[in-house]
Amino acid sequence: MADKTVTPFLIFWHKFKRQKSALVAGIFILLLVLAAIFAPFLAPYDPYATDYSQAMMPPSKEHWAGTDVFGRDILSRILYGARISLAVGLSSVAIGAIVGVTLGLLSGFFGGFLDELIMRTSDVLFAFPGILLAIAVVAILGPGLVNVVFAVAIFSIPTFARIVRGNTLAIKESLYVRAARSMGASNNRIMFVHIMPGTLGGAIVYFTLRIGTSILTASSLSFLGLGAQPPTPEWGAMLAESRDYIGVADHLTIFPGIAIFLTVLAFNIFGDGLRAAFDPKIR
């Protein structure tokens, strides 16, 4: 095996595949993505087809997850909804993370005026309650899912920046960074090669938590009429639409709730595994 090159990916994979639960979660996410892609083939019914005579039927052989207020098949809506919820969750957090991590790194590493500027700006962003920020974003850009992605991304930036900055401050003073510096490494090298990997642990943990939060935030935005417009089967919107019936027709909220719950859980466990695999300290 001497001729096989040891790439970083191999190291990562070697470490990751030891995380059994993360593997399971990863498979779940993969299945979810596949389900989202192939929803038209998997869904037993048209997610938009209404049938008032079948309204709010509890789960049965015909409708595994029951029907909603308009008699639409909930299972089909959840399958189609996976597309929307996953896309919104992932893309918004990804945008937030890229911007936030970069800002946090710069801020922590260079300090001084830049730090002050970035941190105070993020304070300002932070200070705005998310819902109001979303209303403002949508007021300017108009309602719709794409704008929800932006609004949710904006919420995540300051937290990513803060976490990464905190870690950067700590790592900057660590022995190995000082060693690298004394060996004449450039700022860029120190920042991206020596410091960034160490800060990613926190960022990834937050990333995984954030996907769930984003799905939930997107849902509350849908609920405020700022996100997915009916009849789009977004999970959060499904939850919010049926909150009036909690206590009389619980299956309306339980199934979308479970979908959100399992997805968030899977992302968390998966993120945990990633984190362990990324960590240079674990061998």
Binding site: S21, G111, G112, E116, M119, R120, D123, V124, F126, A127, F128, P129, I131, L132, I135, A136, A139, I140, T159, R162, I163, G166, N167, L169, A170, E173, G201, G202, V205, L209, G212, T213, L216, S219, S220, G236, L239, R243, I246, G247, T253, G257, I260, F261, T263, V264, L265, N268, I269, D272, R275, A276, D279, K281, I282
Partner: protein, 307 residues
């Protein structure tokens, strides 16, 4: 250290000034006309015009801003468009409920969050780890309004242990809302505690301590705890800042007369002075909390240097 502290304090002023302009812009950008809302759904245009003059909304935008800032520097936050009561008084009424709720929720979430996180870290890879984290994560993946309504059904309606809603100063009223609100934060803290402990537990000095034959418990609580706390402290600070803004959902579900519900009510009637004051207050709180968090950093980890 002291110098750094003072510098940070001074830097708050320009931030708040910028924030004030942004806040003003934001609030006035919201679609919707407060005069129309104050005048009521069936008002005619003459009444609306009269109300607009009465509220000072007929003036130009910069003029309104300068008037507002002028009053602000004299300590006058203006009057609510809706109730016509002084904004300061309205906020003062709603601040204590939100503060109590935030403090109680924070207490829960630190208690449960740190416990679950540390517990999971100690039992890394075993069933206890998974169980602890699933419990913690469920807190964050359940929509708050759902959890709140479930708790009400169980503990208030069926068991009758706690009141459904209300705020009259009894501790019992605090239990359900603070649990609901704390569940989310607890999940976040648990995750951070776990990850932070895992980091710290791999450090050389922990191995050294273990090699010296110290009890695992001592290693855990005495050596690891302090260092593992750093990221947790950041998170606690940030989350507390969020909580102080008041939770829209929890305050609505539990009819809690706090700032979160007040903000949503004020958004829905476009109560400009109230929104401006609330947003400025949030910003101020955040800036101060962030400052305190940074200070705490320095205390916990003396390695961090300040120029």
């Amino acid at each position: 250290m002291l110098q750094y502290f003072l510098r940070r304090c001074i830097s708050i002023i320009p931030v708040l000034l910028v924030v004030s302009i942004l806040v003003f812009l934001f609030v006035h950008l919201l679609p919707g006309d407060p005069a129309r809302i104050v005048a009521g759904p069936d008002a005619d245009e003459a009444t609306i015009r009269q109300v607009r003059i009465e509220l000072g909304l007929d003036k130009s935008f910069p003029e309104q801003y300068l008037t507002y800032m002028g009053r602000l520097f004299r300590g006058d936050l203006g009057k609510s468009l809706r109730s016509k009561l002084p904004v300061a008084q309205e906020i003062a009424l709603r601040y204590p409920p939100t503060l109590y709720l935030a403090a109680a929720s924070m207490a829960w979430s630190i208690l449960f969050g740190v416990f679950f996180g540390a517990y999971a870290a100690m039992h890394r890879g075993k069933w206890q780890d998974y169980t602890a984290m699933v419990v913690a994560v469920s807190g964050i993946s359940m929509p708050q309004f759902w959890l709140g309504l479930l708790l009400i059904q169980l503990f208030a309606v069926h068991l009758g242990w706690f009141p459904v809603t209300g705020f009259t100063g009894k501790w019992k009223e605090l239990v359900l809302p603070s649990l609901t609100l704390g569940a989310t934060v607890a999940a976040i803290i648990a995750r951070f505690t776990l990850s932070s402990f895992l980091d710290v537990l791999q450090e050389e000095y922990i191995n050294t301590a273990r090699a010296k034959g110290l009890l695992e418990r001592v290693v855990m609580w005495k050596h690891a705890f302090r260092n593992a706390l750093i990221p947790v402290v950041t998170m606690v600070g940030l989350q507390f800042g969020f909580l102080l803004g008041g939770s829209v959902v929890v305050e609505t579900v539990f009819a809690w007369p706090g700032l979160g519900r007040y903000m949503i009510e004020s958004v829905s009637v476009r109560d400009y002075p109230v929104l401006q004051a609330l947003l400025l207050l949030y910003s101020f709180q955040f800036v101060v909390i962030n400052l305190l968090v940074d200070m705490l950093y320095a205390v916990i980890n003396p390695e961090i240097r300040y120029k």
